[in-house]
Amino acid sequence: MKEVKEHNDKNGCLISIKSVKDTDADRLYFINVISRLSDSVKGYSYFQFSRPNYNVSDIIKELRIIQHTNDKLSCSDDYFECVFVCTEISVSLLRCLSLIWFAFDHCAFCLFDTPSIPLNIDRQSWYYITSMSRSFVVFKGAEDDVVWIGKSNSIEYPLLVDIT
C-alpha cells in the first residue's frame, strides 16, 4: 500500500506518494495515477523531462512511434531535455510515460483542464504552473521514489488512495 500524504501548508494543493519504484507493479501503479488525473481534466497535456540516467534512445523512439498528428515532441540531440505536448493520453502513451518517469532525473507532467497551454511554463515550478491555469503537475522532488502532485486551488484530486 502506498502512502499518500497531503501537505497542508500548501493549502491542500500538494500531495506526495511514497514509495513508487522502478518495478513492473509500481509502473502499473504510476500509470493508474496518471490515468485518473488525466480523466479528471479535459485539456492539453504538457510533459517535460530532462537529465536521462542512461541511454534513452529506445524510449524516445517509442514515443515518436505512438505520437499522433497533432502531438509535438521536441528533444535536444542528446535527449538531455525533451518536451512533449498532446491532446489525448492513450494507453500506449501512458506506458511510455511510466518508462520516462524512471529514466529521467527531472520530470514534470502537466495535465491541464483548459484547451490551451499557458506560455512560458518551461522549467517553471509546479506552483507557478498550477497558478497560471487549472491543472495538475506531477513531478519529482528530492526523493526519486516519491511522486509529487500539485494542483490548482479550483480543482479537486481524483480518488487515489484505492489504487493498489
Binding site: 522549467r123 528530492a142 526523493e143
Partner: protein, 181 residues
C-alpha cells in the same frame, strides 16, 4: 625511446594544476620552471594521469561545493542552485569520466525555489551506481531537507537498489547533515 617517469614526476603531475601554474609563473627561467611546465604538459598528455586529475578535481570541487551548499542553504541564501541558468556548477553537460557523470549544484525547477541536487555521481546505465545528495521538500516531514540516495554494486551484489535512505551510513555521513535547521 619514451620518457621514463619516476615518483617525483608522478607526484608533480598529480599536484593541483593551479598550484603548478603558480609555481611555474613564480620560478625564474631554468630547470625548475621547465620541470613545472613539463609536469603541466604531462597532466594532459598522459590519459591515465588526465583521468585521475579529473577525478581528483571533481572530489576537491564536490567536497567544497557540498560544504558551501550546506552553509548557503542553512543561511537562507536565495537561488542556491542558480549557477549556469540552473544547470549547475559543471554546466549542462556535467563532467563525464568514462561511463560516469558528475553534476553539482543544479536546480530542480518544477519542485520550486531552492530545490535541487547538490551532488550527483551516476553510472550512465540502467540500474547503475548512484551517489546523490538532494535538497527539497521531503515526503515524511513536508519540510525542506536533505536527502541522500546511495546505490552501488559490490562483488556482484547490488546495494541500496532504488530505495531511498534518509539515514546516512556513518562512513559516508558528512558532519553538515546535522546542522540544517
Amino acid at each position: 625511446m619514451g620518457s621514463q617517469y619516476d615518483d617525483r614526476n608522478v607526484l608533480a603531475m598529480l599536484a593541483p594544476t593551479w598550484l603548478l601554474k603558480e609555481y611555474a609563473a613564480k620560478s625564474p627561467n631554468g630547470p625548475q620552471k621547465w620541470a613545472y611546465q613539463t609536469a603541466l604538459a604531462n597532466q594532459s598528455d598522459l590519459p591515465f594521469i588526465a583521468s585521475l586529475r579529473k577525478i581528483q578535481d571533481a572530489v576537491y570541487v564536490a567536497s567544497g561545493v557540498v560544504g558551501v551548499a550546506d552553509l548557503a542553504i542553512s543561511n537562507g541564501v536565495i537561488d542556491v542552485f542558480g549557477a549556469n541558468g540552473g544547470y549547475g556548477l559543471l554546466g549542462r553537460d556535467g563532467l563525464k569520466i568514462g561511463n560516469y557523470r558528475l553534476d553539482l549544484m543544479y536546480a530542480n525547477p518544477s519542485a520550486g525555489e531552492n530545490a535541487g541536487t547538490i551532488f550527483f555521481l551516476k553510472q550512465l546505465e540502467k540500474g547503475g551506481a548512484q551517489f546523490r545528495w538532494d535538497y527539497g521538500v521531503l515526503h515524511k516531514s513536508g519540510e525542506m531537507g536533505l536527502h541522500s540516495t546511495i546505490r552501488f554494486h559490490w562483488n556482484g551484489v547490488k546495494y541500496g537498489s532504488a530505495a531511498q535512505r534518509t539515514w546516512y551510513p556513518s562512513s559516508l555521513k558528512p558532519p553538515f547533515f546535522n546542522t540544517l535547521k
